[in-house]
């Protein structure tokens, strides 16, 4: 049986144990749905400017948090050791954990997107780019969460570390303020944020209009961030496995 199939078994077990629990599904959906509703009620003509950012933010927070919580929890309960003792590589463990977290975040964001489309008629002009944004964002953010969780012992440590990164980038990644409206000094900084590229990819998918001239730019950059996140997470997992 291949390592890939075993990674899928890890994902399936995590979905069964953690991600399919009703409180988690509602927690992941409720906050962004209420936020979007508030934006829509305030100004129905401008909600589309914020929606891609909120969907990307849902991915960012959902995926990084859940990946970090699951691994930290398993480290504390000793069950992560079960995986380390099994005949699977650290890459297989990483793939399994990342897939389940990505699936959870991706599904939550997809439900939010489809819900907005059905409820308020939000357009989806390019479903392919929307799916690409979901996959790339979910993958990169899950891996970032895993990289952080492998380096800490407690859930609160993981959350604190993640928040140092997550909250500041909300304000420079085009979530609430479009990149075009950012001050000149902030624009280059925005390009370094993975969230910026996921938000812009969502914009291409939903409205067809974004800061970049072509969707290839945020798509390629997001792939780059995905690869970097994988390398970081793999290094962190290897270090952890040998401690």
């Amino acid at each position: 049986m291949s390592q890939f199939v075993r990674a899928l078994f890890i994902s399936r077990k995590d979905m069964e144990s953690y991600y399919s629990k009703p409180p988690l599904v509602t927690w992941g959906l409720l906050f962004p749905a209420v936020l979007m509703l508030a934006v829509y009620v305030k100004d129905p003509s401008n909600y589309l400017g914020v929606a891609p950012g909120v969907i990307a933010m849902t991915l960012l927070f959902g995926n990084t948090s859940m990946a970090a919580i699951v691994v930290t929890f398993e480290k504390r309960s000793g069950t992560l050791q079960r995986l380390l003792l099994a005949p699977i590589s650290s890459r297989t463990i990483l793939l399994g954990k990342a897939c389940s977290a990505a699936l959870y975040g991706g599904a939550t964001s997809l439900v939010l997107t489809v819900g907005l489309s059905l409820l308020v008629g939000m357009p989806i002009v390019n479903p392919l780019l929307l799916v690409a944004a979901l996959i790339l964002g979910a993958g990169a953010f899950s891996l970032l969460g895993l990289a952080v969780s492998a380096s800490v012992r407690e859930v609160f440590e993981a959350m604190t570390l993640l928040n140092f990164f997550r909250f500041p980038i909300l304000f420079i990644s085009g979530v609430f303020i479009p990149v075009a409206h950012l001050p000149t000094w902030a624009k280059p900084v925005a390009m370094l944020s993975p969230l910026t590229h996921v938000v812009e990819l969502f914009r291409f998918g939903l409205s067809g209009q974004a800061y970049f001239a072509s969707p290839a730019i945020p798509a390629a950059t997001s792939v780059g961030f995905l690869v970097v996140s994988w390398i970081l997470a793999e290094q962190a997992f290897r270090r952890r496995a040998n401690q």
Binding site: M1, R6, F9, I10, K13, E16, S17, S77, G78, T79, Q81, R82, L83, L84, L85, A86, P87, I88, S89, A241, N242, Q243
Partner: protein, 332 residues
């Protein structure tokens, strides 16, 4: 089922001569603390090896290295003919591990826990379902198959953790303190299962603080102190190493002081009063007995009871520890 299980006192079969664990000059440090220093030993197929030592001796470090959880600093560690550092995935496919803590998935049922581990070990669907059912039966857990792991008692959790280590029929099973914290019936049941596992062909690498358990279960014993192997052999051989020291237990009709007894028996190694009887550790029983008799005559004291005993494994273990501690404390 594999062949080659050796009877505890019986001769070796051809298969049992095969070495399944080979450790040479293994070393590991945590910062400035040396956890293992030049540890070398081998374990033959079909053996139950007890790996003993006080807390912090390096037992778990050794197991963690042999299971691929920890990198070694120096030396060689081969399991089933493969170097654990070079081929960890293939080694892990051959071994089953029962860690000190029962660490299965609390939210999953007993059956699902076993099946999930079967998935991780690459068992085909039908095989893992059948194996899970047979292990639930063997470990008398069939009526708990649907219960979540978290709902089990400590003893049943331990039993399921041992069962989980066997899901892929490993060649070698590492048991780290398997009966720690269990009540007597649970511990006895588990010891019986360990014998069954070994009879079915698995080599067992056992760490325990329970010396009676080690003596009852194991074919061979290794004693590790401060990261160094200090004794190796069967329980009988290890006892023989310290047999020059014997215990003499004497109950007297009147109170005497320890000093008086020391004066009477100057060669005695140690004296203690245990439940009204004096226990003397001596090297020459005959001389000590004669000295006690003349002491009784001189002081008009009657000897109510006098017994000699050979050292138990625990006595031998303590003597080895004390001897090693003396070496450590001696000036260079």
């Amino acid at each position: 089922m594999r062949q080659g299980t050796q009877e505890k006192t019986g001769g070796e079969t051809a298969a049992s001569r095969d070495v399944v664990i080979q450790v040479q000059n293994l070393a590991k440090s945590y910062g400035a603390t040396r956890a293992l220093t030049n540890v070398s030993f081998s374990v033959r197929a079909g053996e139950i090896l007890a790996y003993l030592g006080p807390n912090g001796a390096g037992k778990t470090t050794t197991i963690n290295i042999l299971c691929g959880l920890l990198d070694r600093d120096a030396g060689q560690a081969r399991v089933c003919g493969l170097d654990i550092a070079e081929d960890p995935v293939r080694v892990k496919q051959q071994i089953g591990v029962v860690p000190e803590e029962s660490n299965l998935y609390p939210e999953l049922s007993c059956r699902r826990n076993l099946e999930y581990l079967g998935e991780l070990y690459g068992l085909p669907r039908t095989a893992r379902k059948e194996r899970a059912e047979s292990l639930l039966t063997l470990f008398d857990l069939s009526d708990k198959a649907a219960a979540p792991f978290r709902a089990l008692s400590r003893g049943l959790k331990r039993r399921l953790t041992v069962a989980a280590a066997l899901i892929h029929s490993p060649q070698v099973v590492f048991l780290d303190e398997p009966t720690a914290g269990l009540d007597v019936p649970s511990a006895r049941a588990l010891r019986s299962l360990i014998r069954t596992i070994n009879r079915d062909g698995a080599t067992v690498f056992l760490t325990t603080h329970n010396l009676a358990e080690a003596e009852a279960l194991s074919h061979r014993i290794l004693i590790l102190v401060r990261g160094r192997l200090v004794a190796e052999g069967t329980a009988v051989e290890i006892r023989r190493q310290v047999e020059k020291t014997r215990s003499l237990s004497v109950t007297l009709s009147a109170d005497v002081s320890e000093r008086m007894l020391r004066d009477a028996c100057p060669d005695v190694r140690s004296i203690s009063l245990v439940e009204g009887a004096w226990r003397l550790e001596v090297t020459d029983v005959h001389r000590a007995t004669a000295q006690l008799l003349s002491f009784a005559d001189e002081h008009g004291v009657r000897i109510l009871e006098l017994n000699t005993s050979t050292p138990s494994l625990e006595d031998a273990f303590m003597t080895i520890l004390e001897g090693d501690s003396g070496k450590e404390e001696a000036p260079p």
